[in-house]
Amino acid sequence: MTGMFDSAFHPDLPTRIGEKLFEINWGLIFFITLIACVGFAMLYSAADGSLDPWAERQMLRFAVGVLVLLVVAMIDLRVWMSLAYPAYGAALLLLVAVFLFGEIGKGSRRWLDLGPLTLQPSELMKIALILALARYFHGLNFAKLSNPLFLLPALAMIAAPAAFVGVQPDLGTAILIVAGGLGVVFVAGLQWRYIVGAGLAAASLVATFGEWFWNERLHDYQRLRIITMLDPMADPQGAGYQILQAKIALGSGGIWGKGFMQGTQSHLNFLPEQQTDFIFTMLAEEFGLMGSLFLLVLYIIVLGYGVAIALSSRSHFGRLVASGVTLNLFLYVAINTGMVMGVLPVVGVPLPLVSYGGTAMMTLMFGFGLLMSVHVHRQMEIPRSHSLLF
């Protein structure tokens, strides 16, 4: 057993910062930047041709985000592995704190007011959960995966934050946490019989408690969102307004769109939250099917990088972290575009790198940093029972 940070067995591993920078996947950074630039353009348009108030700040955040990405990428994977559980524990504590003392905004408790900055612990948890699960499965003997006793801690790791986020209530993030977490469990190699069993169990749970859950546990606005997603015309001035106007904006873009800054739906305020969750509709209105597909292709390219990085990692921890980050990005994109196209209920999920918002941007760039770290350290092998800082 060698000491920590000892790369003596792998002389080809990059160790110095310079070498590591050389290993950075600049192609991935290029495409990330391209997506962010689409975002800047849309935020510029959303403000009727002004950098203020959104585009400017978003650029600044992205610049900071790129720095974060690079710094995170430079840090040894083993450090991230050793930080996994403490980070998870801290994030969970913060979630509990939010539950107890959180700031109330838009009818739910999501933020912690820490003097100069407000913190959204659910965002931290997205990263922390990926790290924690990756570390857990990294250290787990593959054969034990078949033992439910060893599966339970992983499920508990997912369920605890999901529960706290769910009661905030922030259904969108809770779903992302559960889906992202289960995704990691899936790629870690959970046996099919469990998957099928869990699927059947979930189906029977829904059948048994679905109605009770619908009536007792969902908030009115959550129920309304689901109903209006299925039939926006049911209440075109009320709950269906947002989704209806979004579909009008999207559909009216046609193949080539109405032109940059020419979107009538967005510029005449028919689109609510055009700079955040519904920014995709604005892009679709102004640049049409071509513009929308262009952005989707950019996401697919970035996701492709993620999959490639996950597959090329020689450490199980690296694989799982990379796939966790990639999966999260995918879920963001799919849920956001799905909801603005009216195929999913409206849950507050932003469009990654494009929607205006500081916390989400930082989480994402941090995630990309981890992905990049996996890439930089792809040749590193970490023994299953590797001793760590914590």
Partner: protein, 629 residues
């Protein structure tokens, strides 16, 4: 690295590939969804987006003016001074209203309406506070606008009828658009828009209305105006010139004030109506402003029926006025020679039935001239018996009974000229000789309107031309519906005889309307009286003596009728007078006809130059109203 690690690496790769596949499928689905929304349904969403963006604001057209034949305004638009309130500029609405209450009348009901309107509209939409303000109040509010935050003075149009009681039935009135009026025309959606509800205002609604101007404006989601895209000038409504002479109309209406009566005066050469009176009338202005329920109920329950146009819709048995029809039918069929005498002993026997003459003691030997002059019933029983219903109804139709002429006013009635088929289909029994006898003296199934009586008389007096009644001279400066009258194909000799006999009615001893003789230079009148029975006179009554008309309750009294023409030598006007439950034609209707005919011949509207309006095409009043959204 041990075997297990290799195994979990392989499993990981498989699972990652699986998830990637699922991801690709998801993106495929999303792209398909995008295609459906943007390409397949793109056009529909583009239209929805345009509807969102573009709002049509309508500019109310100015309604056409209605003139009499000499250019007197019978229906016009006057400026309607009103004040609006823009809630978002008012700050504290109640405070502004309190302050306004010191200047204008603002009751609790009005305030309730204002509050409701404010609640229903967005804060930048002007709400009507009060309208029809006088100039002083309006000017004061204009000058002191700063004291009343949010107040917006506004000038609109309102319809005014300067002679409401005299012309209520002819000109009609306008009123707010009702739910069942809603058509597709954009004007109907202008708040506060008025449309014709009766009379000429209703009949000529399309011409009088004009077309709304419009502005297409771009609005944002809250409805606030962003910019104007397109504006289109409206077209004001066409002006109407009626054939009526307001002076004569007023005279005639005054002459029968307090009665339930109708008077029609017609130019026999053209069919133009110079007076068309139905009394009592009502204040047509009230319908525009909103008539209160008590007033309206009062009109509805009034036995004199002020809301009903008796001149065109009132149907009466023509009584003896119909005898001129029977006479012409008898002459044309040859069943009666003019000089042929019929003996009147006060009654005629037909089978078991006895048909009485109005003069119990009889007229002795009666020819056509005396028959008409003295209105001998027995003569016309005999004429009707010999002539038969087929010929009588044929002549009646030619003289203009039993038709509505496609007249200008809505709901004009065609009345009834009975035929054998009519009785068979409505009463399931065959026509009998006694039906002909009843018809011959204008009773039975016959129903005529005063308008028809005037037309019938005109067709006799003008030498047999089928004039039809005309009410509208021009629409928008263009002569309206004027066609040469065709001949009714009657022998002049016969018409002359009838005219001479009608002249005798008013001018010769024993004529039934001798008391209403019209004298003076160029003044003369001929005509025929008629008394239409409302109730049956029973055998018992005949024995004990018929009650005098004045002794009966009003609604059981006879209708008094008179149809006439003047002057007698070269007739220019025909007249019909019906006084509902007025009693005898000679005592109640003929004197009215004499006075109105004197006025008609003195004013002689048909010979004076008439008014023709300039083809005005000014811009529609700038009254921007929001197309409700």
């Amino acid at each position: 690295m041990n075997d297990k690690d290799g195994l979990r690496g392989q499993v990981f790769s498989r699972r990652a590939a699986l998830l990637s596949l699922a991801g690709v499928a998801t993106f495929g689905g999303l792209s398909a969804r995008l295609f459906t929304l943007q390409v397949t349904n793109g056009e529909r969403y583009r239209m929805l987006a345009e509807n969102n963006r573009i709002d049509r604001r309508l500019i109310a057209p100015r309604r056409g003016t209605i003139y009499d034949r000499f250019g007197v305004e019978l229906a016009k638009n006057v400026q309607n001074f009103r004040i609006m309130l823009v809630p978002e500029q008012a700050g504290h609405v109640e405070e502004t209203l309190d302050r306004l209450a010191g200047t204008i009348e603002l009751g609790e009901a009005a305030r309730r309406r204002i509050r409701r309107d404010i609640a229903r509209n967005r804060a930048f939409v002007p709400i009507l506070i009060a309208e029809n303000l006088d100039w002083e109040t309006f000017a004061y509010l204009n000058a002191n606008g700063l004291d009343f935050p949010g107040i917006q003075p506004d000038v609109g149009d309102t319809r005014v009828y300067p002679y409401p009681e005299v012309l209520s039935h002819v000109v009609g009135f306008v009123g707010p658009v009702a739910e069942n009026d809603k058509g597709t025309e954009p004007e109907l959606r202008i708040p506060g828009f008025r449309i014709g509800k009766d009379g000429v205002e209703l009949a000529f609604e399309p011409q009088l209305r004009g077309h709304a101007g419009g502005r297409d404006v771009e609005v944002d989601a809250s409805g606030r105006l962003i910019r104007e895209i397109r504006s289109e000038a409206g077209e004001q409504g066409a002006d109407l010139v009626l054939t009526l002479d307001l002076g004569l109309q007023k005279f005639a209406a005054d002459r029968v004030a307090g009665e339930s009566a109708a008077i029609v005066v017609m130019d026999v050469a053209t069919g133009e109506l110079v007076a068309l009176v139905s009394q009592p009338g009502f204040d047509s202005n009230l319908f525009n402003r909103g008539v209160d329920i008590e007033t309206y109920r009062g009109w509805q329950n009034d036995p004199y029926q002020p809301l009903y146009n008796k001149a065109t819709k009132g149907l009466f048995p023509p009584g003896s006025t119909f005898k001129v029809v029977t006479a012409l039918a008898a002459l044309e069929s040859g069943s009666m020679r003019p000089e042929e005498g019929v003996y009147c002993g006060g009654a005629i026997q037909l089978g078991d039935a006895v048909f009485h003459c109005w003069r119990k003691e009889g007229h002795g030997s009666v020819d056509l001239h005396r028959g008409i002059k003295e209105s001998c019933d027995v003569y016309f029983y005999e004429a009707a018996r010999r002539t038969g219903i087929d010929k009588m109804s044929e002549v009646a139709m030619r003289l203009g009974l039993g038709t509505d002429y496609g007249f200008a006013l809505p709901y004009t009635k065609a009345g009834r000229v009975p035929t054998k088929e009519y009785k068979l289909s409505h009463f399931k029994s065959a026509w009998q000789t006694y039906d002909s006898l009843n018809t011959g003296i204008g009773q039975g199934f016959l129903q005529v309107s005063p308008l028809q009586l005037a037309t019938m008389t005109a067709r006799i007096a003008n030498g047999g031309f089928a004039v039809v009644p005309r009410l509208v001279r021009s629409v928008g400066g263009v002569t309206h519906d004027h066609s040469e009258a065709a001949s009714i194909g009657a022998e002049h000799a016969y018409l002359d005889r009838i005219l001479r006999a009608m002249t005798a009615v008013v001018n010769e001893p024993r004529g039934t309307a001798l008391g209403s003789r019209l004298t003076g230079p160029g003044l003369s009148m001929g005509g025929k009286t008629g008394t239409a029975q409302v109730r049956r006179i029973t055998r018992a009554e005949r024995a004990t003596g018929v009650l005098k008309n004045d002794e009966l309750p009003w609604e059981s009294r006879d209708h008094a009728l008179f149809c006439g023409f003047g002057p007698t030598d070269a007739p220019r006007y025909s007249i019909a007078v019906v006084v509902e439950h007025g009693g005898g034609g000679s005592s109640a209707a003929a004197p009215v006809a004499r006075d109105v005919m004197r006025e008609a011949l003195t004013r002689d509207p048909a010979r004076r130059p008439t008014f023709s309006p300039m083809a005005a095409a000014g811009p529609a009043t700038a009254l921007a109203l929001k197309d409700g959204r």
